[in-house]
């Protein structure tokens, strides 16, 4: 399955018309220890780029934007259960934020692939 990335350091993995979304390993490292996260409720809909979730480290609070438009069909129960450590431990795996039923696959296709994102991060 292809993973794509945004300039704001969200990642998206597409399985059929359901996209799993989280923050990149780079973003998790930049944030440091996560001490709070807020996920949207199942059923909420977001346009691409809209504020969707919040993740806070000891250092700072960051908005997480919807990388593509869609409706929330699942939110990570580990994070809802306040196991925020999972975001630091496995940001691009078990530490996913939400699953979105996507509206427009073209939005996904237009995002950076892994190699492009790696280049982008190198330039930061």
């Amino acid at each position: 399955m292809t993973t794509r990335f945004t300039k704001d350091h969200e990642w998206v993995r597409l399985d059929g018309d359901v996209a799993t979304v989280g923050i990149s390993t780079y973003a998790a490292e930049q944030l440091g220890d996560v001490v709070y996260a807020e996920l949207p409720p199942v059923g909420a809909s977001f346009a691409q780029g809209a504020d969707m979730a919040v993740v806070e480290s000891a250092k700072t609070a960051s908005d997480v934007y919807a990388p593509i438009s869609g409706e929330v069909v699942d939110a990570n129960a580990e994070i809802k259960g306040e196991n925020w450590q999972i975001i630091n431990d496995a940001p691009q795996g078990e530490g996913w934020f939400v699953k979105l039923k996507i509206a427009n696959k073209a939005e996904f296709d237009a995002l950076m692939d892994e190699a492009a994102y790696a280049d982008y991060v190198k330039g930061l």
């Binding site: 440091g32 220890d33 001490v35 709070y36 000891a58 250092k59």
Partner: protein, 387 residues
Amino acid sequence: MAEAGTPKKLPLDALWRARTSKFGDFAGYDMPLQFEGLIAEHNWTRSHAGLFDVSHMGPSFFALPKGHGLEGEAAHKKVASLIERLVPADIQGLKPGQVRYTMITNAEGGVLDDLMIARPAEPGAAGDLYIVVNAGCKHQDWALIEDATKGEANLVRADDRCLLALQGPSAHVVAAAVIDPALAEMSFMSVKRYDAFGRLTVTRSGYTGEDGYEILVRAEHAAELANALLAHPEVKPIGLGARDSLRLEAGLCLYGHDLDATTSPIEADLAWTIQKRRREAKDFPGAARIVAELAHGPKRKRVGIRPNDRAPAREGVEIQAGGKRVGIVTSGGFSPVLNAPISIGYVDAEFAELGAGLDLIIRGQARPATIVPLPFVPHRYYRPQKA
């Protein structure tokens, strides 16, 4: 006020860069923000000893001109009376080797900076004061001091040296082993010079709530001292990130956030920094407002706030009671020791009761919180029992 242009490098820049790449501009200096991780560094400082480079701050010596002809107590009283034109603390009353925390106040009773003023212990230094001001205010402060005392005393900047803070329960063991056994016996808020690593000016003080020292060392000896301290197994380098979470847990004010030119020392719950002689003399800038607030209470008060849930309330969060705005958060974040969010804020006096419930407006949502005593985590300063 940060200096414009490229941030300045610390004298120990290379030493820190060998240990971290996480730097950031703070008050015009390129400062190490984080080493191992903010929470790990925070907890290490609370359980062992952390070494902080705070050379961006403004250490200085303020002294009567050469040939002033005064001795001992008379020389101290003279130099202290000059600096008392700017601050409300009793500086004349400092004993040799004593340090006081105070503020530069403006005519309206607001705080222009908070600072430390020390009277050297050494008889040969009578007529000198050692003054440490905040990084972001140092140019303003030094200009104010020079303007207020022109021709009567000289201010010598010492910010070309390094200021290192060693903080934590093991700090005294490390300082005794690396610098001089006598450091272990200094009491909190005292100052002493040591002939080691060139010549050091050491205060037993800090900004973490822990026991510890702030050590002024000449730049040419700074690496030698820092390496000797870091070689001790109890010591790790700590960045500015953990410095902020440590001072927040200790309930200490950060200038520009918890204190500013509109905030009075009384609103800030710093009445203890204004000693009796000055309250009675009312002879400092802003005395009218400050003395009135001492008598009748301030309109708003600085308080500790614990959110009842897990969401941190950071600077700028509005505080409400019954749907009405009653205050604002001035510092907030996460307490590693309490494993919970904590905030400092100002609340209208009638709502500033310990234990009172308030609402914090975080991302448009009201979240319940409780006013709690400061500090959030008890201070552990060293004050030897008097014989």
